[in-house]
């Protein structure tokens, strides 16, 4: 064992960043984790751009009008809605995460009985309720946005 370790011939086999996304045959919660991360990064990126843009108002009214003209194109409108949707998802899923990370809504430990179902899947209805709220709010905000 020592000889093999020192020659370091064992092939590293980490999944890397693909392991964040590749969810193979896992459950919904694994996908929700990936989406939470993506929306978080997206919102962070948006905030930095938003701050820079809003900082332009220090240049006075005409600078502001020039900057605002860029944002009238349809592509930016789509982007604006994506930010709203990302915020809705991240906020409501985040609420679910705060509760479940502190082990609320997961029940009590009890002896496992085959077929094994873990605590998160036993409380699957909570996750469905959260997803339902997210989808309803996203559609509602889309309707309000378009009108």
């Amino acid at each position: 064992m020592q000889a093999i370790d020192s020659k370091n011939r064992h092939l590293p086999n980490r999944l890397g960043i693909k392991g964040w996304v590749w969810a193979g045959r896992y459950t919904w919660e694994r996908y929700l984790y990936t989406l939470h991360r993506l929306t978080g990064l997206g919102l962070l990126l948006f905030i930095t751009i938003h701050l820079c843009i809003n900082g332009a108002r220090i240049g006075g009214e005409s600078t502001w009008a020039d900057v605002m003209d860029i944002f009238e194109t349809p592509a930016f409108k789509v982007g604006e809605y994506l930010v709203i949707a990302a915020f809705i998802f991240h906020a409501i899923n985040g609420g679910r995460l705060i509760l479940q990370h502190l082990a609320y809504t997961l029940g009590k430990p009890k002896a496992p009985v085959y077929p094994y179902v873990d605590a998160m899947r036993q409380k699957r209805r909570f996750m469905w309720a959260v997803l339902f709220v997210i989808v309803v709010l996203a559609i509602y905000s889309l309707v309000l946005f378009v009108i």
Partner: protein, 110 residues
């Protein structure tokens, strides 16, 4: 228990953002139109309450976002425990710099 304290602040800022950023989203997108017109901006720039609101939004938003980014960087680059201090300093300085910039703009316009 430093990491635990940081994470509890992350949860608290998350809940605070739910209210503040949620309110900001509702007001910006779904209230009366013309939120980006110069007169509307000038009205809000003159008010102290709006200043407090925006600064709070910035503080909580920056903490929550930068802590999340710190987590992702720690995970992806496997920063060793001794280098985490350096990373933390970078984040604190970057966060304070952005906070300073974000506070300077409305205060200057006041």
């Amino acid at each position: 228990m430093k990491e635990t304290r940081l994470k509890i602040l992350q949860y608290v800022s998350g809940i605070a953002l739910f209210v503040i950023a949620g309110g900001h989203m509702l007001y910006s997108h779904f209230s009366n139109s013309d939120i980006t017109s110069w007169s509307s901006i000038a009205d809000r720039a003159a008010s102290n309450w709006w200043l407090v609101f925006y600064v709070l939004l910035l503080i909580f938003g920056l903490y929550h976002g930068l802590h999340g980014l710190r987590t992702i960087i720690l995970e992806y680059f496997s920063i060793s425990d001794s280098s985490v201090k350096v990373l933390d300093y970078i984040f604190v300085i970057a966060g304070l710099a952005i906070l300073g910039y974000g506070t300077y703009i409305p205060v200057e316009a006041l």
